[in-house]
Symmetry: C3
Subunit: 277 residues, 3 copies
């Protein structure tokens, strides 16, 4: 696919989201859970947040995608995530994993390893520190935020990393940063949308992941879905900054949801800045 047909495929997915209102089951963190639910609704999906192990199978059975986000993981919710992942496999629905803070603690690093083994996600989306940690590389973590090294990354090296990890894990791998990289091991896509300011609002990474999950629920091509979720968040950041250039981070935060809810095919075609290789 060239850039344009890739984009057009993704835009068709947006129409499907709005038509079918797919249910996106989240096991996510308590910091950004409201934003995750609202960005799924803004895109046209229907979020459900449920992490009690006893109801996991039932909830997975009505969902079209499972999103796992370890931002405020506990032992209890880790067990629920494993159960949810297994139920999702039985149902053959896609699983998107956000390894928030992998590398910041042994507990998180091991939890991600467990989820990769037991759950085998369809898509993995993290920042450079998190993805490097998962790949077994040295990491200087900055907690849950991108570290300085993220900003200094070498693009070609990062593309190789995404490609290799995608092949090894048999899933789509996304490394988000100033330029986002998404690879399924064969095709690698870079996305040059977004604004630095997105890093100053908590949960914009989590929201990207939730948007990715929403696209994955309707489209067969998970590479396209992953690119679309991340690109939509980036474009929302660009438009949000245009709307309130002199206002602060509270207004910017709110306008992200505004802009996601107002996205249309025309905007995505004209602003989407991707490169399919």
């Amino acid at each position: 696919m060239n850039n344009k047909t890739f984009l057009e495929t993704g835009i068709a997915y947006l129409e499907l989201v709005r038509k079918h209102k797919p249910i996106i089951h989240h096991l996510t963190n308590s910091v950004t859970i409201n934003d995750c639910a609202n960005c799924v609704l803004a895109l046209g999906g229907s979020p459900i947040m449920a992490d009690e192990e006893e109801e996991i199978e039932d909830i997975v059975s009505i969902a079209s995608c499972l999103v796992l986000n370890i931002g405020t993981l506990t032992k209890r919710t880790l067990a629920s995530m494993v159960a949810a992942g297994k139920a999702a496999h039985k149902r053959a629905i896609p699983i998107v994993l956000d390894p928030v803070g992998a590398g910041a603690s042994q507990f998180r690093t091991k939890a991600v390893q467990l989820l990769l083994q037991e759950v085998k996600p369809s898509v993995l989306r993290g920042n450079l520190s998190e993805i490097r940690c998962i790949a077994g590389l040295n990491v200087q973590t900055r907690g849950v935020d991108a570290s300085t090294e993220d900003a200094m990354g070498d693009l070609e090296q990062e593309k190789s990393l995404a490609r290799a990890l995608a092949t090894r894990l048999s899933c789509v791998v996304a490394i988000t940063g100033a330029i986002d990289i998404v690879s399924d091991g064969i095709i690698t896509v870079t996305i040059s949308n977004g604004r630095a300011r997105l890093a100053s609002v908590t949960g914009t990474g989590c929201m990207s992941t939730s948007l990715v999950g929403t696209f994955c629920s309707v489209g067969d091509d998970l590479l396209v879905s992953t690119v679309m979720g991340i690109m939509c968040m980036g474009i929302a950041g660009e438009l949000g900054e245009m709307v309130c250039p002199h206002r602060g981070l509270g207004s910017f935060h709110q306008s992200l949801i505004d802009q996601i809810s107002l996205l249309d095919a025309q905007t995505l075609l004209s602003r989407g800045n991707i490169n399919v290789q």
Copy 2:
């Protein structure tokens, strides 16, 4: 009571809320907990969120109403809700139950049955799917959001359902949707306020329930209080849409809290669209 005296009674309750700032104890979900607290404050009440079983009795003892919302229920919080309900009965304060997602999992359906038996809520507020599930009718669930059947409901049938369930459970039953129905088994009120867009922001149902709880804390007539809570949310939706017609869902979300905090007797009298039968 005719429509006008019904409304005037409810408006007097709003004055009482602002005068006494009643404490509303919530055991609620982690998705919309901030919005629930802020809408109670916006109306003039004082929210307290506490679900550790060990402190439940103490917190109930300083509260004027108990709100139970099962949106992200766990086994731990279910036990706390039962304890809270029993403490609320001892103190004779009203209990409002929001059965979020009843029918979406066996766990939730059984939890609601347990709460109805052990806690005997004073008010039950849900969407059509949830209320049909509780009534033992067939349900095609859409997770925590209203299902398509909700939009196609037959108003007279729904009124009968609310009336019958209210009689059976000896509580006020509210079915919220395009037209809201509230019944205590004898009197049935329909509310024609609100906007479709309210369903595109997570937690507007939960917020309605919290507003109902706030009104219940000051007024003897729980039917009036329930109508007021739901009607105020609907009117906030109408005014919120007027303020930002071309803006997105983030702005609309924020303006709901704005409008609740700005409600006055004049606005409620002129916009309140209820029918008491």
Copy 3:
């Protein structure tokens, strides 16, 4: 220090926050967790929220300050807080405790006593009811909100209370209210910034505490850091009210984060209204 050099010291801390982006580890409540994270980011810090006991030591080891907030405490998170406090002592990073609702239940009152003994916080910030409870005085609690007595407090008495408690606990004590009081037992500072409306948005106390923690992470003088955190919240309230005088509480809430993100030395110098004694 006189008022001006005190302020100038604090303003230098703000520059340090923006330069070093310190990691602020929170164990906090589920109601205001998103606002706490966003206000730390708005000031220039990097929040991390983690309360699983198994990862506490690892997370504390990358943090520059620990914030403990008992707003929705459970037995599980209390144990994690004790572990976090001990780890913070080993690392010699400051600990800020927000005793939300102390006095509202035996569980909270005892939890605060336990934390004071086992964790020995560097800074304690609460409203008058909470601080009176901790000091062993009679309290008429209003749950988690300030009680009426808070508004009627006698300023000189409150100063003595803060001074005495700071000496007894060997920490900085802040009593926030219409006029805020901060004391380390020797120097006592009053802050006359803020607006009554701040009490109508949930979490403005929690946000103050998170801002205090962010300043404490960079400045040696914890008295200055505590005053700065509380003063910044007050000034954000003043500026937020100026921006949207006729709008409701949702807009005011959002503008608090806006104003924190826009704070600069000039604004702090001209609006900061403190009295160092």
